[in-house]
């Protein structure tokens, strides 16, 4: 069961700190948990794991490909390695290693990919992965999870650790908007209906969940009833829920912190096209490279605000 916070605001604690505290906790019981990082230990807070368990943390330096291969080898000996680097490097920089060394070998590596999409903010276009979900979706066996806030991250980490297979965790490392109350429970592969509605379903992931909920508030004032669904497991996708939403609300808008190609929007469109075609729009980056700036600036720059979602909803409703 989930419960939403009454007032959505930025979390006072950083995602990375909640994550690493929880991993340290799990590692207390399980010596097989291993941390690998590629010279971003201070960005990802993994140095704190290293302080606690120096024998089980490895900083390989600026060698993402090597890190993925080492993780594969460790997994082959029964370890549960967690790799850490920015999402751009975790995919673009080491894709073949993820594909062959890890996935093709049917190994068990958890890839923590930080700074996805526009949350790369001040690192700018070169560091802004807007295509990483597309890369990962194309690799069989890979599970893709995008935790929305610290409560979800904390709640999912044990399942991420003990669900065998490669899992790509696409996650902001800094403060995220709190959506869920403490004590909410999450299940990998199961989408969440955050708000009911009958005219349209907004399917959102990651930082776009807060925008989607804001959009639903805006729409409500105009008499439009929008359902908001959070798909945090992008692969395997909760097809059943999406099909149901298409059938019940007759229109879909997706919202993602990613290129509209090959990400959540594409995945949802595939399901709808195959099962229950309804009018649809995708909110996200429209096949552009990233840019530098604050997350708020970038949301506006790439038309990813609550207002943009609301506008998409109105367009999609006109095609109903």
């Amino acid at each position: 069961m989930i419960k939403l916070v009454k007032e959505r605001k930025p979390d006072p604690v950083m995602m990375r700190d909640v994550y690493i505290d929880q991993l340290i906790e799990l590692a207390k019981e399980d010596p097989n948990i291993i941390v690998l990082d590629a010279d971003l230990m201070h960005s990802n807070a993994t140095y704190r794991f290293m302080e606690k368990y120096p024998d089980r943390a490895f900083n390989v330096g600026v060698q993402e490909a090597n890190m993925m291969g080492i993780a594969a080898g460790l997994s082959a000996t029964g370890k549960i390695p967690f790799t850490h680097t920015f999402a751009c490097f975790s995919t673009r920089r080491a894709l073949d290693q993820v594909y062959i060394s890890i996935a093709y070998n049917r190994l068990n590596v958890k890839m923590i990919a930080t700074d996805p999409g526009i949350t790369a903010a001040y690192n700018g276009g070169t560091h802004m992965p807007l295509e990483d979900v597309g890369f990962m979706r194309g690799i069989p066996t890979v599970t893709i999870i995008e935790p929305v806030d610290t409560v979800m991250m904390k709640g999912l980490l044990k399942d991420i650790t003990y669900t065998y297979g490669p899992i790509y965790v696409r996650v902001s490392r800094k403060s995220t908007t709190r959506i869920f109350e403490e004590g909410s429970r999450f299940e990998i592969g199961k989408g969440l209906t955050l708000r009911d509605g009958k005219d349209v379903t907004i399917v959102a992931t990651g930082i776009m969940v807060a925008e989607a909920l804001d959009a639903a508030d805006l729409l409500e004032r105009e008499g439009i009833s929008a359902r908001v669904v959070n798909i945090f497991t992008i692969k395997p996708l909760d097809r059943e829920l999406i099909e149901k939403c298409a059938a019940e609300t007759g229109a879909i808008v997706t919202a993602e912190n990613h290129n509209i190609y090959n990400g959540l929007g594409s995945a949802v469109a595939e399901v709808i096209a195959e099962t229950h075609p309804v009018p649809m729009e995708r909110v996200g980056v429209k096949d552009l490279f990233g840019e530098v700036g604050s997350v708020d600036y970038l949301k506006k720059r790439f038309n990813m605000t609550a207002q943009d979602i609301a506008d998409s909803v109105k367009r999609v409703l006109s095609r109903k």
Binding site: P31, I34, D55, R56, F58, V60, G61, Q63, A65, N66, M67, M68, G69, I70, A71, A72, G73, L74, S75, A76, T77, G78, K79, P81, D96, Q97, Y99, I100, S101, Y104, N105, R106
Partner: protein
């Protein structure tokens, strides 16, 4: 030191591996013959003498691991594993046929005795480092043997691995380089020379040796020295000949992947068969 008899037995084993590799590839009439033939003596030493393994339990925890990073040499490794009883010799007839458990590149999902899937070059060293680390963390004394191709050493990841392992104390990691001086498109020195490989690895902090990769005693001795070297990873550069011992492949520039006729295969096998009989007679 290997006893004279042991050495001769390993030479016989090597010749058998060559014969079975040729038969295996012969069913199809094409394949990665050059790099499969150049590593045969190494395979004979590893599987005939050095490595701990159990063909009836290929995933036995106490085994030594072998990561053949140059995955395209699958055929001679399969011949070796079949001769050692990991799977029936009959399987060798199925190489690369649809539905086979012996695909052209080594694949742990299919073949008993294959520890890691390889084929995309450069990745085996990192996997080997991970396995070696895993063994250390699990307090197991298993060795990890990684075989790199020489052309493969043009991949940047090899040097990422070399740098990182050079800074660790993974003395349970032993890397071989099949330095046969040829890659798919021809002679390495004409394409992108590797220069002094031994010196390069030494500079990266490894215990490095160079031996004649077709000399069983030298390979064995080098492995013993590598094992005696504590606190460091070891590399053994094997000077080899691409296509070694195969009449129609040895000495040809483009012998990485070849087509061949039944007659060529039969002739090559006949030569090896004769050699085998002489060696067996000599042993008796």
């Amino acid at each position: 030191m290997l006893k004279e008899k042991e050495m001769k037995e390993l030479e016989i084993f090597a010749t058998k591996i060559r014969i079975e590799t040729l038969r295996e590839l012969g069913y199809l009439g094409f394949g990665h013959i050059g790099g499969a033939m150049s590593i045969v003596e190494l395979l004979a030493v590893l599987y005939g003498k050095v490595m701990k393994y159990d063909p009836n339990n290929p995933k036995w925890e106490g085994r030594d691991w072998f990561v053949m990073s140059k995955g395209h040499a699958g055929p001679s490794l399969y011949a070796t594993l079949a001769l050692k009883g990991f799977f029936p010799m009959e399987w060798l007839k199925t190489l690369n046929q649809g539905g086979t458990d012996l695909p052209s590149h080594a694949d742990r999902n299919h073949t008993p005795g294959i520890d890691m899937s390889t084929g995309s070059l450069g990745q085996g060293i990192s996997m080997g480092i991970g396995i070696a680390l895993g063994h250390k963390l699990n307090n197991r004394d298993n060795y990890v043997y990684v075989l790199l191709g020489d052309g493969e050493c043009q991949e940047g990841q090899v040097w990422e691995g070399a740098l990182y392992a050079g800074n660790t104390k993974l003395d349970n990691l032993i890397v071989f380089i099949d330095y046969n001086k040829q890659q798919l498109d021809g002679y390495i020195d004409k394409i992108n020379s590797l220069g002094d490989l031994r010196a390069k690895w030494e500079m990266f902090g490894w215990h490095a040796q160079e031996v004649d990769g077709h000399n069983i005693a030298e390979i064995y001795e080098a492995i013993q020295k590598a094992k005696e070297t504590k606190g460091k990873s070891s590399v053994i550069v094997l000077h080899t000949i691409k296509g070694k011992g195969c009449t129609f492949a040895e000495g040809i520039e483009l012998n990485h992947h070849m087509k061949f006729t039944k007659e060529q295969v039969d002739e090559a096998i006949a030569v090896l068969q004769k050699e085998l009989e002489e060696k067996e007679r000599d042993l008796r």
